[in-house]
């Protein structure tokens, strides 16, 4: 019987998400939930690059720029307004506007792939330097704090009710809900005609334009949607740690996202989530047990994957499953 993966995938994801959100908070310790929340936030960030790079073929080295902009826009808005409702929207809209402007010049100027990588990385580093050296900057009542970042960020509150703030459990459930919704939404976006044209452009941009599709527009929209998702991840990240600092714009942070997506598998969604979660878990564990420097391990993981598993975890697992069932099928015929 042929299963309909287009429906089963998102349905299973939503079901697992709901079950986890309901059961986990009453089963595990709070600190485990806090750790899991971090993995979930990083998974959302990984999904944003999985869309832009994995499906759109746009190698954006500065995805963390949108993540950081989202985080900062949210925190600055929250300190000024005291109610998180509008700041959450700001954390999504500000990176979108920024991406629309940057993307307009990148795509309508027909900038080549390599230059696009260099420019996006530079933009991220410029933001890093700007915030890092801006100890004296103030936006409204929010002090940017330069190198120290902005500590003591209050939690997200129920829309319109600043006194009703999210607990650790609530933050976990909200982040997980966001992850599931974004995963399912991306799934349907990629199955739509828009998503299939985006994949076609990655495959052969010339042919796609000769068929009458404006590749510049499709890439720009993909870029802006990716920025919105990264911005939301930034909001949830600032909420998770009650803190936002300039390191979110650093080269380390940008590189990390690329490694998650690559390890998980380019052109997959679930792979990006797995890549981000596994690598975050491994580096956190190594770091807290002082076994090895997490950066060196991250570098080794990257090199091993580039050389040995270039397709990434998810496509590799799918290959193994396929050959396993083929082997079973053939041995079944023999006996």
């Amino acid at each position: 019987m042929k299963l309909n993966w287009a429906v089963i995938g998102p349905a299973a994801a939503a079901g697992c998400g709901l079950a986890l959100a309901g059961i986990l908070p009453s089963v595990v310790e709070t600190f485990v939930l806090v750790d899991l929340t971090a993995y979930i936030v990083m998974s959302i960030l990984a999904l944003s690059l999985a869309l832009v790079w994995g499906y759109g073929g746009i190698l954006c080295f500065g995805q963390s720029a949108f993540f950081g902009l989202g985080g900062y826009a949210y925190v600055i808005g929250l300190i000024n307004l005291g109610d998180s409702t509008i700041p959450v929207a700001l954390g999504i809209v500000v990176p979108m506007i920024f991406a629309a402007l940057l993307g307009y010049f990148l795509f309508y100027g027909r900038v080549g792939d390599i230059y696009l990588g260099v420019i996006t990385l530079s933009v991220s580093l410029i933001l890093y330097n700007l915030i890092n050296s801006g100890a004296q900057f103030k936006i409204g009542s929010a002090a940017i704090g330069g190198n120290n970042g902005i500590p003591g960020v209050p939690p997200i509150n129920f829309p319109g009710v600043p006194s009703s703030q999210l607990s650790y459990e609530g933050s976990f459930q909200l982040s997980l809900a966001a992850l599931v919704i974004i995963y399912v939404a991306l799934h349907f976006l990629l199955a739509s005609n828009f998503g299939r044209v985006v994949v076609a452009i990655r495959s052969n941009e010339l042919r796609t334009e000769l068929l009458g599709y404006d590749a510049r527009l499709y890439k720009l929209v993909t870029f802006v949607v990716g920025a919105a998702i990264a911005g939301l991840a930034g909001v949830l990240f600032a909420n998770w740690g009650s803190f936002i600092g300039p390191t979110v714009f650093s080269i380390f942070f940008s590189a990390q996202i690329i490694i998650w997506v690559m390890v998980g598998g380019l052109g997959t969604l679930l792979g990006a989530v797995a890549g981000a979660s596994i690598i975050q878990a491994v580096t956190t564990w190594l770091g807290s047990n002082k076994i090895a420097d997490p950066n060196i391990i991250l570098g080794i993981i990257f090199i091993v994957f580039v050389l040995l598993v270039p397709k990434g975890i998810q496509p590799r697992l799918a290959d193994w499953l396929r050959s396993l069932s083929a082997w079973r099928g053939s041995s079944g015929k023999l006996t």
Partner: protein, 251 residues
């Protein structure tokens, strides 16, 4: 500013003049003129072949017609509208489809999806399914519908690209060396297909295969060193000493 008044000839051209016309079309690459002043006209529903030795400017001419290259000088009029400075996707939207010299297809996507992407540009989903089915059947590709295009032989990939063109239902079709990699039978099938299109769609074919050009008939344009050398029937062109000298490299 006043727009110049339209003459009778202008009006005639806009209504039932040639579907495609180029005026003094030139393209230079660093001082070398690949196309050097081409005045070309194609009637509605006409099937035209362009022949000429390598480097005669045929592919450059096609690239300008489809917006892949900007002309250095001159104009391209498609149904009276100047398209010489248009983006390539805009020209495609006007109804010009091209099969490039090296097949430009989606190697990592199934045959069906290649054709679907073309049909879906201007059709609703229900119509798309029907168009894809119809085109795949017409070009004998139904058996390969689910295979990745990258797995197919060169000749089959030519058919896939042709299927993509037909699925878009264009008014002007440009084919750059469509017989490359085709078997003798396939060449005959392609000639048959093109003959069927005559009168319904306008087609320009760039070809080296003289037997094929003879097979589809009609007017033949000979390019040489970026210019049009002669325009005539294939039978007359075979007798033309100037053309023979060009192909044999004499001056």
């Amino acid at each position: 500013m006043h727009a110049p008044a339209l003459s009778d000839a202008d009006v005639r051209e806009m209504t039932n003049g040639p579907i495609l016309r180029t005026v003094g079309l030139r393209k230079t690459f660093g001082g070398v003129a690949a196309v050097d002043g081409v005045d070309f006209a194609l009637a509605e529903g006409e099937l035209r072949c362009i022949i000429g030795p390598n480097g005669a400017g045929k592919s450059t001419f096609f690239k300008m017609l489809t917006g892949q290259l900007r002309p250095s000088e001159g104009r391209i009029l498609f149904r009276g509208q100047d398209i010489s400075r248009q983006q390539r996707f805009r020209i495609s939207q006007l109804g010009v489809a091209i099969k490039t010299q090296v097949p430009s297809v989606y190697d990592d996507l199934p045959v069906k999806e290649n054709v679907r992407l073309s049909a879906a540009r201007k059709q609703r989903p229900a119509g798309v399914r029907e168009t894809v089915h119809h085109v795949l059947t017409r070009l004998n590709l139904s058996n390969h519908a689910d295979r990745l295009v990258g797995e197919l032989a060169h000749g089959q990939r030519q058919w896939v690209e042709l299927a993509m063109l037909l699925a878009a239902d264009p008014t002007l079709i440009l084919l750059d060396e469509p017989t490359a990699g085709l078997t003798r039978n396939e060449v005959e099938r392609l000639a048959q297909l093109l003959r069927e299109m005559r009168g319904k769609q306008s087609v320009i074919v760039v070809e080296h295969d003289m037997a094929f050009v003879q097979m589809i008939g009609g007017t033949v344009t000979v390019f040489h060193e970026g210019r049009i050398l002669v325009e005539d029937t294939m039978a007359n062109i075979r007798r033309n000493t100037q053309v023979r000298n060009v192909y044999l490299g004499k001056r």
